[in-house]
Symmetry: C2
Subunit: 441 residues, 2 copies
């Protein structure tokens, strides 16, 4: 396809941005955490940074690996964003009871025969930050790469679980009816695939959507979605949707709703639209009002936005790791903080209960056998009743109610897809919770 | 000049961004604060906002008036920005001793024969927020337009004074020598007009620079500067500077250094480069380390950036009004907070002392007779020794050491240029300080 130079450039930009989608595989599997360390590599250091150490949004370099390990902490510097206020109160200090012996843990990765140490897994997963709370106290906290306790990291699809939690809060309060059709809340979606789906089907991603994530097909839906949300100017001859909302109106139906789980980011974008319409405010403000200003957050958070300022509900949230852990502790404590109810207990219970295992099984996640997906959360149905928020580069919020443990992790794995890091993550989380349940300090 | 469509669009964008310069006059002088209220007008409300209520960065609508009254609180949502951390400590509460009787003040505007009330001036100046501290306590605080105590406002050229303060701190500490030439710190500036200027000349803007701010001339330097700093992709045939730093290397000399005050934003950009080079970090980090994390700030702040993440030192800072007032109180208290020295006393004294009145007089500011400019601060040399930071849409940080008063104001006046709001601001500030000095609570 021939394009004039200025269009080629813009098209390249849009493709670059589109790479933020949830399931492609990057070309360099041979990187190590050490070799890709963004501080050692000196990205964006100096005034100005050296040309070969400069990362830009417009030319797509920010999506390359190992640049990506810098990018995950710097989306605000790369594109427009909308703040999520922490309010004006003091941060709520996290109690600490550090357990250095956690680092001596060993576990066997999925599909492996040899054990791996905790620290080997930390690096193998390209971990940028890991915090573990047990009984509400920090037993372990470690940062690497671009992250510290002072700055923020891209949560990617962990965003979805926060949108799901907000939705469950509104359902519990009676503001949102999970049995109502989407088009009764957002008439603009009436002729889209979402129109006749129920809120519950959208929340559980059992909608029947025609949505291709074939990254090798330039006409794939995942590219059109990314182009729509790209805040940069569109090429002159661009005739597709120009915002996340416009994109959603173009999603077509494929198959029945309610039959099978199908992980599609656009479900969360639709949920973001519904929440905004119901509450009269962007999801960034809703998240600030309901959670970020009430959990004693250390840091203001933010969402990336499209060209009209719409927060990217499907994956644009960026936050501090400790604050993500605070959300996990809030859910572990059934919605209470220091005796004050922040989230209705029914909202937490709805998530913990999980969704349909048979609907989930149809999606074919071989590493997640017996799991379900409920309100944008991944529910393990293991003996401890653990449930998770999961981001595509290894971001995790793992909540184990039985072990009274919260594990929050940010990571920047070179491979986009949890199948790449689950083998060295899920058994690690299990080993951590086993350890904390069994050991007496 | 004929340009292909895609280039015309990009050129229009760049022109739109360039309108952020310091001295042009907008076309609508007939607006009132009430008629232009951004909440009443409903900018960016709704999901999505109505087409005629949508404000975008790329099409330049954000620079139009009355849209501007929304924009001044939302730069983060419009373009990439770099955070200025407030640290992880609790905000330092501001003591309060409110004086509702301040609203009954009357004063006579410059050049007027009839008096005006405090509240008339509040609206006449398109005030978005006004806070007055007396003896370290809040005696008055009021918000309007897009601003509250929870969010941030563009400080525009108030930014310069913060860069000047950081510079004075480094001078007092011996890290920066005010008598050394610029090119001894930043060799890249050797062949520019800045090369043989001293740090002091840059700080006091007595450099001899060829820099046209004629907005009617498409080749004027002010346009080239804005184009260089615009974070959006450049047109394909663009051959000019692509970053703030690149722009600075192109500034040519006109006349001797040290002879006359000439208010040129690029001096502050050059100072930003020097500070970054000397400290090895962006001015956003330096400002966080030296001030924002130590004044008990309520809110994280931020700078707008160019395409390689350089903070716009000349005018890109955005912050909470209370935090701006905290900086004023810090200077009023000679660099101390609660018995802890935050800023060297010599740095504060250097600013308060003021610069050359004769150099200042040559710039011909008829409303500022007898003033001087020192380290990017405006010094009144009035009987109280008041000094100011000033932004082009009426942003003010007015510090009166004798009256023990700090006045911080954010505003979004339709006319870019302090000559438009000084007549209803400077005598108001004088009336406020007179009132607070004379009245016993």
């Amino acid at each position: 396809m021939f394009l004039p130079k200025c269009k080629r450039r813009l098209f390249a930009l849009i493709l670059a941005v589109a790479m933020s989608g949830p399931a492609h595989t990057l070309a360099q599997p041979a990187w190590t955490a050490k070799a890709s360390d963004p501080v050692t590599l000196g990205w964006m250091q100096g005034s100005p940074p050296a040309p070969d150490r400069t990362i830009r949004f417009a030319d797509g370099t920010y999506r390359s690996f190992p640049q990506w390990r810098w990018t995950v902490c710097h989306f605000q510097q790369l594109e427009p964003t909308i703040p999520v206020s922490r309010g004006l109160g003091p941060p709520r200090p996290l109690k600490r009871a550090e357990r250095a012996d956690i680092e001596s843990l060993r576990f066997t990765p999925l599909g492996a025969s040899e054990p791996m140490t905790f620290m080997e897994a930390f690096d193998r997963n390209f971990t940028d930050g890991l915090i573990i709370l047990h009984e509400g106290r920090v037993v372990y906290e470690r940062y690497a790469g671009c992250l510290s306790e002072q700055n923020r990291h891209a949560a990617m699809s962990v965003t979805k679980s926060l949108i799901g939690l907000l939705s469950e809060i509104l359902i519990a309060e009676g503001t949102l009816d999970e049995n109502r059709r989407v088009d009764s809340y957002v008439p603009e979606l009436a002729s889209s695939a979402f129109g006749d789906a129920t809120i519950r089907q959208v929340l559980d991603m059992t909608t029947g959507l025609e949505f291709s994530e074939n990254y090798n097909d330039p006409a794939a839906d995942v590219w059109r979605h990314a182009m729509a949300g790209n805040p940069l100017p569109k090429p002159d001859d661009y005739s597709g949707p120009r915002t996340y909302y416009e994109y959603l109106t173009t999603v077509r139906r494929s198959g029945p709703h309610g039959a099978a789980f199908g992980y599609r980011t656009v479900n969360t974008d639709a949920m973001g639209w519904i929440l905004s319409r119901v509450t009269g405010r962007p999801v960034s403000d809703l998240l600030a009002e309901r959670l970020w200003s009430r959990i004693g957050a250390d840091l203001e958070a933010y969402f990336t936005v499209d060209s009209i300022g719409t927060p990217f509900a499907g994956g644009g949230f960026n936050a501090g790791l400790r604050d993500l852990a605070r959300v996990g502790q809030l859910l572990l404590d059934d919605g209470m903080i220091d005796g004050t109810r922040i989230v209705p207990e029914a909202a937490v219970n709805s998530i913990k209960r999980g969704g349909s295992k048979s609907a989930f099984a149809q999606a074919g996640y071989s590493q997640l056998s017996g799991w379900s997906y409920r309100s944008m959360w991944w529910v393990t149905h293991n003996k401890n009743g653990a449930f998770m928020a999961r981001g595509v580069y290894g971001q995790s919020l793992y909540i184990d109610p039985t072990a009274r443990t919260v594990i929050a992790r940010f990571a920047s794995h070179p491979e986009a897809g949890n199948a790449a890091n689950d083998p060295t993550s899920l058994p690690l989380y299990q080993a951590i919770t086993d350890f904390l349940m069994s050991s007496v300090q």
